[in-house]
């Protein structure tokens, strides 16, 4: 009974973290893209709340500030608009499958969030009982392999979305997307396999613990310092997996209308959008856990109490937010690849590089 309550609380918190990160990514996408493109972006909704009452006016100041920053426009107005829009299903396709496609696009991402720890272990004493809590919803034995499984399942949402739209452009977009996703899953998997070999474990929590010491007294043993090539490969393959520019041909707005989610409007489109940004947050989280030491502040050992876990969580979220912002800034900076360049990169450059990295890590692990 206790474990059920703890599991429920953990699931609720991790889901909120995932939603919060996805919302943050949506906001940075809107406002950050505006600033990069030398325009102002959304700053009207909620910026003009005024009240005659001076106390209420003072309390409305943060609302006005959020409005000017575009947060109210992105998180409130867009959500309400999507919820209230007419939901249509194109003619000639199955109603059930059209509604199933956004579900299949979003579900793997949130399940993968269940496998990732968001804070270090801590022990807490409640009602006389001492609980040792690991903030990871499901510490399965197969650890990071489940993340691969979910990356494989996310192809289905795309394929089904293109098929159920009864639209040649959508089908083209989904074919491109699924070919791209399948190709880059290989490089992704092999980059992670190198990390698995280096840390000798599949469990993500153990991988984070394995980074919390200093090499030669000065450099933290983070994954990026120990395995820079694996980080580069994982970053590139992750951006291709989430179909972000420069790998963004599937949703290429100037070529295919909107790619595989052309015929989706309202809440279904928002689900696709949310799934994509949650996937960006997921990859940022995995990168922060595997390559940047997770919740580790170099040289500081956090105590295993609840506020130590909170500090660790804050450090982890800082790293994740920085990595999310990096991915979004890259989107608005680089032009997109042509499809044959994309496939070339995936099969002829990233795959041999990740294989070479794997062989190198295995040899070093045995030799040293």
């Amino acid at each position: 009974m206790d474990e059920l309550v703890i599991a429920f609380i953990k699931a609720f918190l991790v889901f909120n973290v995932a939603q919060g990160l996805a919302s943050y990514c949506v906001w940075v996408e809107r406002k950050g893209s505006a600033l990069i493109q030398d325009r102002i972006g959304a700053n009207r909704a909620g910026a003009y709340f005024y009240s005659q009452n001076p106390i209420l006016n003072f309390l409305l100041f943060p609302v006005r500030l959020l409005g000017v920053l575009g947060v109210i426009n992105t998180l409130v107005c867009d959500a309400v608009k999507a919820l209230l829009k007419e939901d249509f299903v194109p003619e000639g396709t199955s109603n059930f499958m059209h509604s199933l496609a956004p579900f299949l696009a979003v579900f793997p991402v949130f399940v993968a969030f269940a496998m990732t720890p968001i804070a270090p272990d801590f022990s807490i004493t409640l009602f006389g009982h001492e609980y040792l809590i690991r903030p990871q919803v499901a510490s399965l034995d197969s650890g990071i392999l489940v993340i691969f499984a979910m990356a494989g399942i996310s192809v289905y949402g795309v394929v089904l979305a293109g098929w159920c739209s009864n639209n040649k452009f959508s089908m083209l977009g989904s074919l491109r997307a699924s070919a791209q996703m399948i190709s880059y899953e290989l490089a992704l998997g092999l980059a992670i396999a190198a990390m698995i070999i280096y840390y000798s474990t599949v469990d993500i929590y153990e991988m984070v613990i394995g980074q919390q010491h200093l090499i030669a007294g000065v450099l933290p043993a983070w994954g990026i310092f120990v395995q820079p090539l694996a980080f580069i490969l994982f970053f590139a393959a992750g951006m291709a997996e989430t179909k972000r520019t420069p790998f963004d041909l599937p949703e290429s707005e100037s070529e295919l209308v909107a790619g595989y989610f052309t015929e989706y409007s309202g809440m279904k489109f928002l689900l696709f959008w949310l799934g994509e940004f949650a996937e960006i947050a997921l990859f940022a989280l995995i990168m922060a856990l595997l390559f940047f030491g997770g919740w580790d502040i170099p040289g500081v050992a956090l105590p295993k109490v609840w506020w130590g876990a909170l500090i660790g969580h804050a450090v982890l979220m800082t790293k994740v937010i920085l990595l999310c912002t990096l991915q979004i800034v890259i989107r608005w900076t680089l032009p997109r690849f042509r499809f044959d360049q994309l496939m070339n990169l995936g099969w002829k450059i990233l795959l041999p590089a990740s294989l070479a990295n794997l062989a190198l890590v295995a040899w070093l692990k045995l030799a040293l």
Binding site: F148, Y156, S178
Partner: protein
């Protein structure tokens, strides 16, 4: 444990029936994907965690994508409403043969079974140790077979030098 297994078993049978009886081919494929997911769940229930993850990664995540592509791109027609006599007779014969194989297992199930895990032998570490010590030759031979398949697929799909398609491709792209 038995309760979880009974739910999984009911859903497994229901999705398998969905694969065979649905009119729309894409619905069949989706039911099969769900079926493979549930099989992975059964593996996890038996403590074979690595096998569960591998089932989803390989079967439900890669092979079924291929099957879905074939269904979507080849535009296969669903079967006609009234099956012919040959279809009925052959399906009855095959069904009886299958029942002949499965009947002893069914009788054994009705005598009462319990779901019991592998006890630590299905974890990633245990499978890895077995795979690289006792079955290493089989493992390497299997990887060679897969490599042959990949190379064969590339050779079959490669455009021959000098054909019309390849010259158009090399002129069109840089």
């Amino acid at each position: 444990m038995n309760f979880a297994f009974s739910i999984l078993a009911i859903l497994l049978v229901a999705t398998a029936l969905g694969v065979v009886t649905s009119r729309n081919l894409v619905h069949s494929a989706l039911c099969l994907i769900l079926n493979l997911f549930l099989v992975a769940g059964t593996f996890a229930l038996l403590d074979a965690h690595f096998l569960a993850a591998a089932q989803v990664i390989v079967y439900a995540g890669a092979i079924m994508v291929l099957v879905l592509f074939v269904i979507m791109l080849l535009g296969l027609r669903p079967s006609p409403l009234r099956p012919s006599l040959v279809t009925i007779v052959s399906s009855v014969v095959v069904g009886l043969l299958f029942l002949n194989e499965v009947a002893p297992l069914l009788l054994r199930v009705f005598q009462g079974v319990d779901v019991v895990g592998l006890g630590g032998e299905g974890t990633v570490r245990a499978v890895g140790q077995l795979l690289y010590t006792k079955y290493v030759f089989t493992f390497e031979a299997a990887s060679l077979v897969i490599m042959t398949g990949i190379v064969g697929a590339v050779v079959l799909a490669k455009r021959k030098a000098g054909s019309a398609l390849s010259s158009e491709a090399s002129n069109g792209t840089s």
